[in-house]
C-alpha cells in the first residue's frame, strides 16, 4: 500500500492557514446538515406541525424529507468545490496536501 504521506516540505504557517480554511468550511456544513436532519426528526416525530397536505398528493412531512435529499446534493457539491479551491491554494510543495 502506498504511504499516505506525500512528498513535500512541511510548512507550519501554511498548514495553520489550511487547517483554518478547512475548519471554516466544514463547521457550518456539519451544523447545517445536522440541524436540518434532526429538526426533521424531532418535528415529524414529536409534533403535529408537519401534518397536513401542501397540495394533493404531497404532505409537509414528505416535502421536508425530499428537501433533505436535495440538501445533501447541495452540501456535497459545495464542499467538493470549496475543498478543491483550498487545496489548489495550498499546493503539495508548500504544505504536503495531496491534489
Amino acid at each position: 500500500m502506498p504511504p499516505s504521506t506525500p512528498p513535500g516540505e512541511f510548512n507550519a504557517e501554511q498548514y495553520r492557514e489550511l487547517e483554518s480554511a478547512r475548519k471554516k468550511l466544514v463547521t457550518p456544513l456539519v451544523i447545517i446538515t445536522a440541524v436540518a436532519f434532526w429538526a426533521q426528526q424531532i418535528i415529524t416525530n414529536f409534533t403535529g406541525w408537519m401534518d397536513g397536505a401542501v397540495f394533493a398528493g404531497m404532505s409537509w412531512a414528505y416535502l421536508y424529507a425530499f428537501a433533505l435529499f436535495f440538501l445533501v446534493i447541495a452540501v456535497t457539491t459545495y464542499y467538493r468545490r470549496q475543498m478543491a479551491a483550498i487545496e489548489a491554494k495550498y499546493k503539495p510543495s508548500q504544505t504536503g496536501a495531496e491534489q
Partner: protein, 535 residues
C-alpha cells in the same frame, strides 16, 4: 413463493460472474495490504460505488420499501438517514481516517494513543459488532433466500456462507470491492426498472401514486374505525404511536445515523483509496447514489401497497416480500427472478465487506500489533487474515443456524448502536479533541459498549413487558454515555508538566497528518499559536 428455472439461470450467471471476479482478484491478492484494503489502489469513483454496494443491504432495499408499504411515511425515515449519515462521515471522518489509517480503525487511534489498551478496545468492539452484524445479515439473508427460492433455511445459509468464504478468502478486498460495484450496478438497474413500471401504472405521475396511496389508507382507516379496530399508519403523514414509540423511533434513528460514522466495514472502505482527495470523491459518489436511489423508495413502497392483492393485508409481516411480490405482478417470473438475484447479490456484497473488516481487526490489530508487537512476518499475517476470514464466516454461520427460530431483528440495531456508542466517541475524540486521553478514550468505548449491550439485555426484546428498560433502541442513552465517560475520564486524567507538552505536541502532529496526509516529523517546531484547534 417459489421461482422457476429462469431464476436458476440468472442466479447461476450471477454466481459465475462473481466467481470470475474472485479468480481475477485472487491472482492479485498476495499480501496483507491487498487482502484487507486492496493495496489502496481503488479509485475514488469505484470506491464510492462500492460503498453504496456495501451499505445498501437487503434490509435497506427490501426492508425500507416494505416499511413504507406497511408503515407509510415512518418507513421513509430508514431511507432519509443514510445520505445524511454519509455527509457527516464525509465532513468529519472520511479524510482524517484515510490520512491516519492503514488497515483498521485501530490504526487511527494508535497514531495518538500508543498503548495496547486503546487499540485492543476498538479492535474488540469492531470484532464484536461486525460479528453481530454478520449474524443478523446471515439470518435475514437465509430467511429471504428460503422464501425466494423455496429452499431449506440451512441450505440457504450454507450457500451464502460458502460463496462469501470463497470471495473473501481468495479475492480479499479487491474481489469484495468489484462484487460490491457489480451489485450496485444491478441494484440501480433493477430499481430503475421497477420505478418506471410502477409509474407507468399511475400515469407517470408520482403525485397520482401518492394520492391513491393516501386514499387507500384513509379508506382502510375509516373501515377500521367503523369496526372498532385501531387505525393503521396513514400513507403520507407521520405516525405517532405514543411517547414510548416516538422516543424509541428517535433513539433508533439517532443510533443508525451516528453508527455509520464508526462502522468498521464502512470506514475501512476509505482506506482502499490512494489519498484524502480520493476518499472525498468516494464519499460524494456514494452519497449521490444513495440520494438518487433512496428518494424513489416511496414509489416502490406505495406501488406495492396499491398493486399487491388485498393491499397491506396481502403483504407478509415485516414487509421484506413487498418488492419481490411487486416485481412478480409487474414483470412476471423474469422480473421476479432478476429481483431475487439482485437481493442475493446484495446479501453477498454486504457480507463480504463485513467479513473483511472482521479479519482486518483480528489479523492486523490483535495478531500483528497486540500479540506480535508489530514485529510480524507478512506471510504469517496474511495466513492469519485468511484464517480470520474463514473463522468469521464459520462462527457466524453456526450461530445463524442455531438462531433460525429466534427473532434476531434487534441484532442489527445493537451492532450499529455499539458503533455509535463505542467507536464514534473514540474516533472523534482522537481526531478532534486535544484534551482526550488514552484512558478517557478507552473507558468511553467500554461505557458505550456496555450500556448498549446492557440496555438491550434489559429491554422488552429479551424480558418482555416486565422489562425495566422500555426502549428497544438504546442509542439515546448509550451514545451520550460513551461521550460523557470519555469526557469525564479524560478530564480526570489530564497529563501535567512534560507529559502535557508531549501530549500537545503529539496532538498537533496528528492534526497535521489528519488534514494533509503528511507526517510533519518533529512537531516541536509548532509554536502554541500555530497549534491546530479541533472542530
Amino acid at each position: 413463493m417459489k421461482i422457476s428455472a429462469t431464476a436458476a439461470v440468472i442466479f447461476l450467471l450471477l454466481v459465475a460472474v462473481t466467481l470470475g471476479i474472485t479468480y481475477w482478484a485472487g491472482k492479485r491478492n498476495k499480501s496483507v495490504s491487498s487482502h484487507l484494503v486492496a493495496s489502496g489502489h481503488i479509485s475514488g469513483r469505484q470506491n464510492g460505488v462500492a460503498i453504496a454496494g456495501d451499505f445498501i443491504s437487503a434490509a435497506s432495499f427490501l426492508g425500507t420499501t416494505g416499511a413504507i408499504a406497511l408503515g407509510g411515511f415512518n418507513g421513509f425515515y430508514y431511507a432519509v438517514y443514510i445520505p445524511i449519515a454519509y455527509v457527516l462521515a464525509m465532513l468529519l471522518v472520511a479524510e482524517p481516517l484515510r490520512n491516519l489509517g492503514q488497515f483498521t480503525l485501530g490504526d487511527v487511534l494508535a497514531t495518538r494513543f500508543g498503548g495496547m489498551n486503546v487499540r485492543g478496545a476498538i479492535a474488540t468492539s469492531s470484532i464484536i459488532l461486525s460479528l453481530i452484524y454478520i449474524v443478523a445479515q446471515f439470518v435475514g439473508a437465509a430467511l429471504l433466500i428460503k422464501l425466494l427460492f423455496g429452499i431449506e433455511y440451512w441450505v440457504a445459509a450454507v450457500i451464502i456462507g460458502v460463496l462469501t468464504t470463497i470471495y473473501t478468502l481468495f479475492g480479499g478486498m479487491l474481489a469484495t470491492t468489484y462484487i460490491q460495484i457489480v451489485k450496485t450496478a444491478i441494484l440501480l438497474f433493477c430499481g430503475a426498472i421497477l420505478v418506471v413500471m410502477v409509474l407507468a401504472k399511475f400515469g407517470w405521475n408520482p403525485l397520482t401514486l401518492f394520492q391513491k396511496a393516501e386514499a387507500a389508507t384513509n379508506a382502510a382507516n375509516e373501515a377500521a374505525k367503523a369496526a372498532g379496530k385501531p387505525a393503521s399508519p396513514e400513507a403520507l403523514e407521520p405516525f405517532r404511536g405514543g411517547a414510548l414509540k416516538q422516543w424509541d423511533q428517535f433513539s433508533l434513528i439517532l443510533g443508525v445515523t451516528l453508527g455509520v460514522l464508526g462502522l468498521p466495514h464502512v470506514m475501512i472502505r476509505f482506506l482502499t483509496v490512494r489519498d484524502s482527495n480520493a476518499a472525498r470523491t468516494s464519499a460524494v459518489t456514494a452519497i449521490w447514489i444513495f440520494a438518487g436511489f433512496l428518494i424513489f423508495m416511496p414509489v416502490l413502497g406505495y406501488g406495492g401497497m396499491l398493486l399487491i392483492e388485498k393491499g397491506r393485508a396481502g403483504i407478509p409481516p415485516g414487509g421484506n416480500m413487498t418488492v419481490p411480490m411487486l416485481s412478480n405482478i409487474l414483470g412476471g417470473d423474469v422480473l421476479l427472478s432478476f429481483v431475487s438475484a439482485v437481493a442475493f447479490a446484495t446479501i453477498l456484497a454486504a457480507l463480504s465487506g463485513l467479513v473483511i473488516a472482521t479479519s482486518g481487526a483480528v489479523a492486523h490489530d490483535i495478531y500483528g500489533k497486540l500479540m506480535k508487537k508489530g514485529q510480524v512476518d507478512p506471510s504469517k499475517q496474511l495466513l492469519v487474515a485468511r484464517l480470520a476470514t474463514l473463522g468469521a464466516v464459520v462462527v457466524s454461520l453456526l450461530i445463524a443456524l442455531l438462531v433460525e427460530k429466534q427473532n434476531v431483528a434487534f441484532l442489527a440495531t445493537l451492532a450499529i448502536t455499539i458503533s455509535a456508542s463505542a467507536n464514534l466517541p473514540a474516533l472523534l475524540g482522537t481526531i478532534y479533541w486535544r484534551k482526550a486521553t488514552a484512558k478517557g478514550v478507552f473507558w468511553g468505548m467500554i461505557a458505550g459498549l456496555a450500556v448498549a449491550v446492557l440496555m438491550i439485555l434489559l429491554s422488552t426484546t429479551f424480558m418482555g413487558e416486565s422489562a425495566p428498560v422500555k426502549l428497544t433502541a438504546p442509542g439515546i442513552i448509550s451514545i451520550p454515555a460513551g461521550f460523557i465517560v470519555m469526557y469525564l475520564v479524560s478530564m480526570l486524567t489530564q497529563p501535567k508538566g512534560e507529559a502535557l507538552t508531549a501530549a500537545n505536541s503529539l496532538f498537533d502532529r496528528i492534526r497535521v497528518q489528519a488534514v494533509t496526509g503528511m507526517d510533519p516529523g518533529n512537531p516541536d517546531h509548532l509554536t502554541p499559536a500555530q497549534r491546530a484547534v479541533g472542530h
